[in-house]
Structure formats: structure tokens, C-alpha cells
Symmetry: D2
Subunit: 200 residues, 4 copies
């Protein structure tokens, strides 16, 4: 059977993610990794995002827990007080999503270190963060609706509607961060499995 619609679209998505991730800045990633490492033994990591960015953040948080970090998702039941010196990872493709911006503002006031993961380092979220990891995917300047920009650009069939390319790229990149952490901390897959939820 010759490949038709969906499998082909999946390969095109993968190609788009690859091209998108080829532009990430290793220096920015170093900043994220150093922020995470400094919490060991003395601080906590908090993750926040709305919608699918929030789900990507949760997937990242779960693996950080498996690796051994003290990590929480903003808004979940057992999330304690964020304190000075803690680290907040705020994820928003546009950098203009109200919820992570509000949380990031409060975290800054408390004295936490804020790392933004966004397509726009000059967005509201990017501008208030202490460090930024820039991941492309949002093809529009902020303030402008995605579909309007795409229509102007002549992109008629949305293969990656809304934040899809940003979200997929962030999911892959943050799993590469996990792989780097596993390497840096000398963890084995068994170590991770040992912390993985046994009742779920």
C-alpha cells in the first residue's frame, strides 16, 4: 500500500520540527540547564503553561521528577509555596499568554529565577524572564492572530495549526534536556524507572 495522507503528513511534521530545532541556541540551553542544576539540594522547580504548552510542561516535569529533581506543576494539588531562589519554567509560544505571564510576574516578585520557553524572546513573557530558550514555531508577530498572518503569507492548509509546531518542537527539545541531565548526573534508565509512578 503506498503511503497516503496521515503517515506522509507525520513525516512532513518531523521534517518541520528538525528544521525548527536546528536553529536553537546552545547557549540558551546552557542557561536552562544551569538554572535546573542549581536547585539540587536547595530549591524547587515549578513549571507553568496554558493549554498544550501546559501539557508539554507537565511531560517535562514528570521526567524531571524521574531524574530526581524536586519539581511541581503550578495549579496541581500538592504544589507548595514558591520561595526565593526557586526556578520557574514558563512555557508560551507567543509569550503573550496571560496565565504564565501572571505566574511569572508573581514569581519574580518572590525572588525566583524565571526561564521562559517561547518563540518570541522580546514578548511580554520573554522580556520579564531572567533567561529565555527560543524555539520557533509561532510564525506570527505577537498581537496578530495566527490565521491572519498565515492567510497573508499564503499558507492555506494548516499542517501545524495554532501553536502546533512550537509545542511539538518544545516537547522534543525538553526531552533532549532530560537526556542531557541523565548524562550530566550519571543516571541510568533504572534510576528513572525506580522513581516512576508505581500506581497510576
Amino acid at each position: 500500500m503506498p503511503p497516503t495522507g496521515v503517515a506522509e503528513k507525520a513525516l512532513r511534521l518531523t521534517e518541520m520540527i528538525r528544521e525548527n530545532l536546528s536553529k536553537v541556541d546552545e547557549g540558551e540551553l546552557d542557561g536552562l540547564i544551569r538554572a535546573l542544576l542549581r536547585t539540587i539540594g536547595s530549591g524547587k522547580i515549578f513549571v507553568v503553561g496554558a493549554g498544550r504548552s501546559g501539557l508539554v510542561g507537565r511531560a517535562f516535569a514528570m521526567r524531571l521528577m524521574h531524574v530526581g529533581f524536586s519539581v511541581y506543576v503550578v495549579g496541581e494539588t500538592v504544589t507548595p509555596a514558591l520561595k526565593p531562589g526557586d526556578v520557574l519554567i514558563a512555557i508560551s509560544g507567543s509569550g503573550e499568554t496571560r496565565y504564565p505571564i501572571t505566574i511569572a510576574q508573581e514569581a519574580k516578585k518572590i525572588g525566583a529565577l524565571v526561564v521562559a520557553v517561547t518563540s518570541f524572546p522580546n514578548s511580554t513573557l520573554g522580556s520579564l524572564a531572567d533567561a529565555v530558550v527560543t524555539i520557533g514555531g509561532r510564525v506570527v508577530p505577537r498581537g496578530q492572530k495566527d490565521y491572519e498572518a498565515r492567510q497573508i503569507m499564503g499558507i492555506h492548509e494548516p499542517l501545524t495549526p495554532l501553536g502546533t509546531l512550537f509545542e511539538l518542537s518544545a516537547m522534543v527539545l525538553l526531552d533532549a534536556v532530560i537526556a542531557e541531565m541523565v548524562h550530566l548526573l550519571g543516571k541510568s534508565e533504572e534510576d528513572l524507572a525506580n522513581r516512576h509512578a508505581t500506581v497510576e
Copy 2:
């Protein structure tokens, strides 16, 4: 600046996803798409998964909602009764995760159509499902711990610990399913944006 650790790892992950997705069966994907389409106007879609597979399922459910489907995540607050003729999408790399299996068994009893998304079509979950979408990633036979199998196979540094490769591949593939739905139903990006949460 030459590429170092994380960016390089991200590109290797993307390559692994691409290779993994090159093996998916378009006929199986057709089965998933037909199952989803048959709910239009008369039924509901339910999504279930544990851990990161559950997060991938939620990301899929959110986009299905944007496209216009009546869709729910098992365990969330407003999820109503599943009825005969509804469709359950159950996601588990190993196909042996207790929670989605339990839900799938109950869904079968009620008379719903169950589609499993798994690396193992002959697993417990795959065997009880009406249709399966096979996505590689779990490199071990069921019943055997991942890390044991990897150690036997000489894989020492876990770039894709636990279910990572399955989860990333499923995330991309299910977004390709969304793109196909957008195409089949003639939706524009504006249609999706119009249903996207306005308060979050």
C-alpha cells in the same frame, strides 16, 4: 558556536522519531480516522492514558475539540457517561498499563468502540481493542523491564528513557491525524482558533 550537547541530542531525537514514524501503517491510521468520523453528530470520543501517554492523549483531545468533535478525557471533571457507540482512544506504549486497560475493558462492556495506540498490537490492550494504531518506541517485549532489555542490548546511555520515543512519536503522529481531519472536514485555522479556550 558549534553544536554541543542538547541541540545535537534534539536532532538525534527527531531522527529517531522520523525513522520510527516511517513504519506506521496507513491502513491502521484509516481505522482511527474512520472511528473518529463516525462520532460526528451522534457520539462522543473519550481519551485515556496514564503518565506521559495521558498527556499526549490530552494534547490530542484538545485539538479534536478545536476541530469540532465532542471529546472528553477520562477522569476530568465534566466527562459524562460513555455510551454504546462512543469511541475510546486508549494510549499505552507497552499496552500493559493497568489504568487504560481497565477503562478499555469497561468501555467494551458498555458497547463502545476501542482504538488502542500502542507499540504492541498483541499486548493486553491491543488484543482487546477493536482497532490498533501501532507506533514503535518501546524496544522491549512486554513483561520485561525496559532497562533490563536495554542493558542486554548494550544501550548504555538512555537518550529516550522509558517510553520517550513512543510518546514523542505518538504526539507527532496524532497531530498528523489532526491535520488530516482539518483537511477532510474543510476546516480553516480560523475555525480552530474560534473554538480555542479564550479564558485559561
Copy 3:
């Protein structure tokens, strides 16, 4: 066995709830009920709250779904766009919690009707709402920390720490609203059971 610590405390809590609920204003409750009823057939209800107030909101939302309303929890996966004419129920004891305030402000801009459930009708949340249901429990004026106020008032052993009395009272009162809805709409317990989640 004579009653000792916990059972006795539970009865004292119940007594505090009863006394607290004896002061609610039936007119305010009418406003809430009319707001909910006007969504039937044409609109959606959204519920928002942070922390334990958010959990009380979810318990209320679940029963509204059982009764037959189209209801969503802000921040959950399948929550669609809030539109003009929809109703937002925002729950906050102090009326100063940032998250429900932010959501309520956005809802107002969109043209939704906002009902605040709070101890302080003149709080930020209460002031911006179209209707308020006042439930006591927060014994302090806004801006002042609970425990400081309690120390001033000489309450040394916190039987109802933080928002406990407000949350318990709201949980009971909103279940009374459900009972009233069941009565007004002529629903039987079987109707509710018929919509209750069958897989969970």
C-alpha cells in the same frame, strides 16, 4: 467510647457551617440560579477557582453536568472558548485571588455574565462581578493575613485554618443549589446517574 478529638471537632465544624450558612441571602442565591438557568439551550457555564476553592468549583461543575448543563472547568483539556452570554462562576473566599480575578476580567471583556462566590462582596472579584453570592468564612478584611487577624482576635487553635470554613460552607451551599436545580427541572436521581461517568 466517649467522643474524643476528631469526631468532636467534626461536629464543631458542622455547627460552624450551619451558623455560617444561616446568614446567606436567598436573593443572592436566586441570582445565581437565574444565571445558571439562562444558559439552558443557548449557553455554557464555566467554573474557576484556585486551590481548594477550585476543587469545590469542580465538585459543583460535576453535578451541574449530571443535571444536564453544558459546563466546563477553566483550565481543563476540553474547555472551549467562552462566548458572550456564557456564565462564569468564580469562587474565592478572599475575593482577592489573582487567578479567578484574571479569568473574571477576561470573561467580562468577552461579554459573559460573572457570578462571584466570595466572603467579601466588596473585594476585587466581588466588585467586578455582575452578581455575588456571599458566604462567610474568611474572618479577615482583605489585605490582612488570616493568622494575624486571628491572633488579634485571640483565636489560638485553628479549627478552620485559612479558607476552611468558607470552602466547607460553599461546598454544602452549592450542593443545595444542585438540589434546587434538580427540583426546578424535575430531574430524578436516575436522570443524574444516567449522565454520571461510566468509565473513571
Copy 4:
């Protein structure tokens, strides 16, 4: 204004809770409190429940965190592996809800201590638990649908449909357990406020 529908119903609900809680066994509550205390310094508490019982469990877990316990909700993002010696609190009015039963069975196999909070100590959940806290509210024997039993009993207007009375009573009783913990551990309201989420 004379009291009409809702406020009156709320007072009747409070009266039903009070009567229901007057029957709880202090010895059973001692068992729960000892189970919780033994985790201090060496173990973790896990909480599980489906539907509104799950929300009551979360409200309890949040306060246990405020008091200083190491506590997790089964199914949330950062919930780690349950280990031998940990404690599982499983909440189900009927004691026959599949999800908490499944989790409790797995927890027993791992070697955790299971405490059931249920109306039926002889239910499946109650029978497999190491300790039970019995809270009335479910007026029917297990296996029988609530509304059938109520019709037989001539209860025509459901003031407390489905598990309402159990859930409300459990919410109040578990807050009395929190008050007892605050007393036993010599915590002040300030201690709790100090751990309460600062970004949410």
C-alpha cells in the same frame, strides 16, 4: 425576607451531615491518624478517589501538604513511585469504585498500608484495606443502584443525589482530621500559610 428554597435546603444538608458524622467511630479515626503520623520523616502519603470523592481527597491532600506531610495525589504529574511502608488513603462511598480498588490492590502488593474511607467496611475496598474509616451517606447496599433503593424507600426528592451525603461528610470529617493534626503537631495557622501555594 423569609428563608425559601436554597438556604433552607443548605441547612437541611448541614443537619444531615451532623447526624451522619455523629456516628463515626473515634477508634477508626485513631487508625487513620496513626497511619498518617507514621509517614513523618520516612514515608509518603498517597490519596486516590474517583469523581467527587477524588476531589474530596485532593482537598485533604492539599491541607496535609500545608501541615508539612509528604503527600501526593495518584495520577497527578509529579507523583513518584509508591514504596513499601507508604500509606494510601482510598476514598469511595460505595467501596466498589473500580479505580481506587485497582490502585489499592497494587498498593497492597507493593507493601503499602491502605486506609479506606467508605460507607461500607465490608465492600471490596473496605475488605482489602488495612484500616477503614466508615462514613455513612450511601444509603444502599452495594451492587444496588442508589435510585432504585431510594425509590423502594420512598425517597422521592433527591436532596443528596448519588454520593452527595458521603462526600460532604467526608470533606468535613477529613478537615477535622487536619485540625487534629495541627493540634498534635503544634502547628500554627502561620505555619500552614507559609507552605500554601504562592503562585496559583
